[in-house]
Symmetry: C2
Subunit: 244 residues, 2 copies
Amino acid sequence: MNRVVKTLLPVIVVHGGASVIPIQFIKEKEQGAKLAALEGYKILKKGGSCIDAVVKAVSCLEDNPMFNAGRGSVLNEAGGVEMHALVMRGDTCGVGGVLCIQHARNPVQVAKIILDESPHCLLTGEAGLKMARKHNLPEESLKYFITDHAKSMFENYDKYKKAVDGIINSKQNELTDEHDTVGAVALDYHGNLACATSSGGFTMQKVGRVSDSPIVGSGGYADNESGKKNKLTGQKPGRMVQRV
Amino acid sequence: MNRVVKTLLPVIVVHGGASVIPIQFIKEKEQGAKLAALEGYKILKKGGSCIDAVVKAVSCLEDNPMFNAGRGSVLNEAGGVEMHALVMRGDTCGVGGVLCIQHARNPVQVAKIILDESPHCLLTGEAGLKMARKHNLPEESLKYFITDHAKSMFENYDKYKKAVDGIINSKQNELTDEHDTVGAVALDYHGNLACATSSGGFTMQKVGRVSDSPIVGSGGYADNESGKKNKLTGQKPGRMVQRV
């Protein structure tokens, strides 16, 4: 059941990945995240849906080479790019996810098509691309996705690995590089919630490694009706979570 | 921490899929499930690990054309077979999963190799097959997997669909056919838990549809240390769950 809560202001929250950001990238990353949030917010402000808002915001992050999703994705052990994305809507708890997709400029838009049209909630990259082609979603060659920064992380993997180990061992001073998923969560005027996630995985991952990002409950979760009932209104607050 | 509970008897529980079984298959299915449980139990009785036991039991079900896993898997919309498997060990909570794999005679054994050797916990079919080949795991042509029964369900999809709709709508009297995942859970002499799952998905599924069977927490879960502490011993009972 949709909750029409007219007094609610729409909200969107965007993130560009959880890690220590090299100082030279902080400004551009901040700007990129702000732009993505604003683009999503424009949709919400016009009364648009939270689903469209999170897809728009994550598409912005995917288009921005500063983030590890879409263009800017890190390289796997073969020097290729395999991407993962998820969209979940809180009104129906419907999910669309795609894993190990190549060439799609915006994996999150492929996930949205899977959410809208597939009888299944999670598809492999090839199956996702097949659906995307029916909708003429833009495709790019491998070259488009590879940034100098991703190439440098690939070529300097030992140093990068030290950074990842640093995260695992919580030795913050060893961190020298960034990685991880991007995502957005939103609440619209209609009281609906949605989340979206997109990731290029991590440098030197095996070909065919499936990220947790496109998996419901791992990469993200949105449910209008979860949580404890409000004793006065009888409404549940809803919940949306996003892995960072 | 492994719990050595010498007074414990090892246990294995096996299932061959949750649905109404056509009367003509009941005996063979029962025998198949018993055989699988006994094969797994033999390992446990000798002091072997719960992981080896569940892999053995599920391999038996995969080899048995009566079940929708390995040989006997149902056909997708293209008349092909894509299989999914998961193994999880409760001592480390380590997981190995493979999705949309073709040709591997025993997808659950591929999942076990991923558990043991991959730095990742979930791989696509092609990546899983690459690892399986290094271990000379047996492969088969598509013909091996396709049974007359799976072919008949594919050719009579409308009738089969009615059966699936029947399950969804809980109209038991409309059920005429079986489907679904197989699996096993086990507890060994060392007090360790494990689970394993294998599935051919469902008839006429889209190519590239990812089942929930190979996904940790969806297809199965095993954890030696979960649950409430025993007030006398301080031990936690452990938990293993298996989707059926």
